[in-house]
Amino acid sequence: MSAPEVETTVTSARAPDQSAGVLRHPIVRLDAGHGAVLLADPALASTVTSTLADPRIDAYALSEGAALMIVPLPATVTEVTALQVRLQDQVLALQFADTAVATSAPWLQHPRVPMALAHASLNSRRQPLLALGNWPPFAPADGVRQVLRASGVLYVELDHLPDQLRLGSPGRWAAAIETGALSTGGYFVVADLPQGAHDVVLIGREGAGGALPLAAASSALLDHLSTLDAVQHIRQREALGRLAVRTESAVIASLVRDCQARRALPARIEQLGERVIAALDLALPVGDALLVVGRLDPLLDPAQLAIMPPTGTPIASPLQRLAPDRPEVAALVSIPGEMAGICTQVRGQFTAPNGQLLTLLSPLAPTTPELARAAILAAAPPVAWTEVALATLFGPALAHWQAAFVPLVTVADEMVFGTPPAEPVVSIIVPLYHDYSFLRAQLMAFAVDPDAPAVELLYVLDQPKDRLVVEQLLDGLTQALGVACRLIVLSCNGGYGLANNHGAALARGTGLVLMNSDVVPTSRGWISRWWQRHRQHDRIGASGPKLLYADGSLQHAGLFFARERLPWWINKHYHKGYPAAFPAAQQARAVPGVTGACLMIDRQLFRRLGGFNTGYVIGDFEDSDLCLRLRAEGFSIHYDSGETLFHIERSSMRHHTGYTETAAGRYNGWRQTQIWGHAIERLMADFSSEVPA
């Protein structure tokens, strides 16, 4: 028999009171480290509970004047004779009438004993909870309005919120608890629900708490949260967000995300009449970062706008204004832990100069890559897409979502009209999007061209919803005119680069001509003549013909790069707008690049290079990028003045003067310079010696 560790030195002058110091019931082992002692005598119980000064011992008043003491009890101890308890002004010596350590006792079923034991565990801050096998029955907690549970989350609404609140069940306490006030009065509590929890108790300091009626708990947590008023709902989901972050629980994170989607709160902006004072226009996860774009009146201080993502912790840095031309536009990127993926809607809180508290809400972030990409492009006006903004905010965001988008563009269907040549020499790839009014002219030209038997015409429909219209048109025209073509239908609108890449992958010709849908030939035999010249020199990687606008002026006679107002290289065409007969445009020659509106390249070469770079968004700069890649491999680019076609260019926006001012245009241009800036500089230095006449 060894003495309990608690034995302290007897220092009291007062002699132990024999009757007070004798405990009728033996110490009861609770678990490997704790024992319970019943103080049945009211005077003794009262003395101990009110003057206990020993940090290793807990004492709790039970009803009828009794008290319970929880004492450390090493597992190896089997008999306890005496116990010394330090009080404020004395040491109490207690003796056990029955010294053997008991393993159970009837008085443990006392109604208040479970709460005392739970508090002991709370105070000792130990995990796991005092293990008793089964919990003694707890009384039901007071003031519980409802209990909901779902996805590893326990949700409770209460009248009162106990201090030092703990939630737990046999085995463990909830690792994290978040609380908040209810707008209807009362409080809510969310906690990660212990695995397999079936008896959950909620306790606080001073004995508050009790068992939670889990049997009645509904799993309609998401529904309940959706029905709350907006303010309440946001408060609760942010609490859930904090819970998710603290527990690092993917399940709770997913619940937070679902909350936002289900409630689908509309965006909230602050306006003064027509003028927008403050708005959060976009909150979009980008990998493990969060992009936030908004507007803030130029006179207001961004530091006053606190942004709260659904993870429940405000973003530390303020929005940064992007451009002097549009000072109201501001954005930031933050890394909200690893939970960026659940941040589909953020809240903004702003103190107006008059002291009024304004609340903003961003629109719900889009869920698909295509919509996410569109949202980024629309989030801020093009002038706000400065070099810095592109490098730090929009560039990485677009790169991420474009990369997510690319694999979604696949070939959905393939059709044949008539009998195309089985082994064509050249395949013409024509992406179709939105405007099909040129098909007749293209097919008519094809119908009267002696090259037709050696040429495969391959249309790629980049707007699958128009599939029926295009099918009917091609069916009728190919039959009437006696031509053949193939039609590939994509799964969604992929853009110029992807449409051409998919077409090229299915093409059979040795050579490829990538042609816009609004390009119409003017002569017969143009393909064979051009192909012949293209192949004359091994080192020609790509070549392009003379293209004219509908009025007969020059649209393209070779492509070059220039630095103008924007801080990156833009693409331009030689002699654009000049009369078709302009002398310099009649000269076939090496050029920095050619337009993708009508471009000839060997199919295997195109394939080897991986086709167009799919990092450009929507369409543009893929053609110049391809030419730069060809140059990097040692090929030259050739302007073939011998063939002339019309490039009507009414419908395609790519070469509109307004295009370079769009967000996509700026991104693509910036990106090209990011990748090829130095190469372009050297290239244009080489070409500048031959100033076009």
């Binding site: 009267v448 009437a480 005119l481 006696g482």
Partner: protein
């Protein structure tokens, strides 16, 4: 030889010069032992009236093919209805002619040329251009909407005439017509003037020839004696044709009014022909002129094609005051057949047919004062009608015309 003649309309519906000539050539070739068939399109108001087919029999119950329906885009010269083209294809496959002779592209569309080439790879495709539809987006008239005559057609200039169209549509029209024309083996122009216009536009000379339109009734109807004006009645000038804007009737009437005001010798004008195709503004303008001119003008009303000779024989001069480049107006042939001299605008095919001073006189087109001068001169010298009338040539015969076409059909 089996020939299929295609026109944009049937004489039963509207007896225009092109339709009449196409049908007449077909009849003539049949009369000398060829197998011919005439195919026409019905006016748009004739939708499909026979179940399951676009074909109908014309009102005269002649054994001609008439196709209804379709969806024709006038600006693009395009037949958009694939069903119509499929029906056209059916007719071609069943008939299997050696020669497909298009007299127009309206209603059938330039796609029809491609259909014909595809269905009958060995057949000769011949296109007679009776007007300027291939070059001109303003009803093929080469007359600009500002009133001037068009010297050179381009999509940009067409846009000036047709601001309701777009440059893109006009450019595509031009490109597709040129493409379709690659499939035509032989082009025929009824006048040297029209041939020159086409060459200027870029039609390859090697495949283009000039064949005057033959006149159908030249053999059947006896030629009357030249006009014999007498002092007891006014000099009679007759207009024959559909009264539409570009035929220039107001110019003639205003010239007459001015001539009378300047004290012309007795002269009157007869207007023979239908006004039903005239816009109401034109009809009211003419009515006003007629009102003012009183007994000097007679509205003689519509006439059946065969009746024209009797009516022409009842005038001394035939006036052709058209304000556009008439190519080969039927009325000039009819006038020559009746030994009547012609007073015409000095442009286009009119000027080519009517040698100035020999077969008639030229007048500045659209110029009422010039017409007044001309009418004054003719009224002052009635015997000139007899002199010139005696020397006008006979109408070009269908036999000669058909021979020339036979050569065209068999050219390599």
């Amino acid at each position: 030889m089996k020939v299929l003649h295609i026109a944009h309309g049937h004489p039963d519906f509207q007896a225009g010069g092109t339709e009449l000539f196409a049908q007449a050539l077909a009849r003539h070739q049949a009369s000398v032992g060829w197998q011919t068939q005439f195919l026409a399109a019905a006016p748009p108001r004739y939708r499909q009236i026979n179940g399951g087919t676009a074909l109908i029999t014309p009102p005269s119950e002649a054994a001609d093919f008439v196709m209804t329906g379709g969806d024709f885009d006038l600006l693009a010269l395009s037949q958009k209805n694939f069903g119509f083209l499929a029906e056209f294809e059916r007719v071609l496959s069943d008939l299997r002619p050696d020669v497909v002779h298009f007299h127009h592209l309206l209603m059938f569309g330039i796609e029809a040329i491609a259909v014909a080439r595809r269905v009958l790879p060995a057949a000769k495709l011949v296109l007679t251009l009776h007007d300027y539809y291939a070059l001109c987006a303003n009803e093929g008239s080469l007359k600009r909407t500002d009133g001037t005559l068009c010297a050179r057609s381009t999509p940009g200039r067409c846009l000036q005439c047709r601001p309701d169209a777009t440059l893109v549509a006009l450019r595509l029209r031009d490109l597709t017509i040129r493409a379709a024309f690659e499939l035509i083996d032989q082009f025929v122009a009824p006048s040297a003037f029209l041939a020159a216009q086409l060459r200027g536009w870029g039609l390859p000379t090697a495949r283009l020839r000039v064949i005057q339109n033959g006149h159908p009734a030249s053999a059947a109807v006896p030629r009357p004696a030249p006009p014999q004006p007498t002092p007891d009645r006014p000099l009679r000038i007759g207009f024959f044709g559909n009264v539409v804007e570009r035929k220039g009737v107001p110019v003639l009437l205003q010239g007459l009014a001015a001539a009378i005001a300047r004290g012309a010798a007795p002269v009157s004008v007869q207007i023979h022909g239908s006004t039903q195709f005239a816009p109401s503004s034109l009809q009211s303008a003419i009515a006003a002129d007629v009102e003012r001119l009183g007994p000097h003008v007679q509205i003689a009303g519509t006439y059946a094609p065969d009746d024209v000779y009797r009516r022409i024989a009842g005038v001394d001069w035939v006036a052709v005051p058209s304000i556009w480049y008439e190519n080969d107006p039927l009325v000039i042939q009819e006038a020559f057949h009746c030994r009547r001299p012609v007073l015409c605008s000095g442009i286009g095919g009119m000027a080519e047919r009517v040698i100035d001073g020999v077969y008639g006189h030229h007048v500045a087109p659209g110029d009422p004062a010039a017409w007044a001068d001309a009418i004054l001169a003719l009224a002052a010298d009635p015997s000139r009608a007899t002199t010139i009338g005696a020397q006008v040539p006979a109408a070009h015969s269908m036999a000669t015309c058909a021979d020339a076409y036979q050569e065209a059909y068999t050219a390599p």
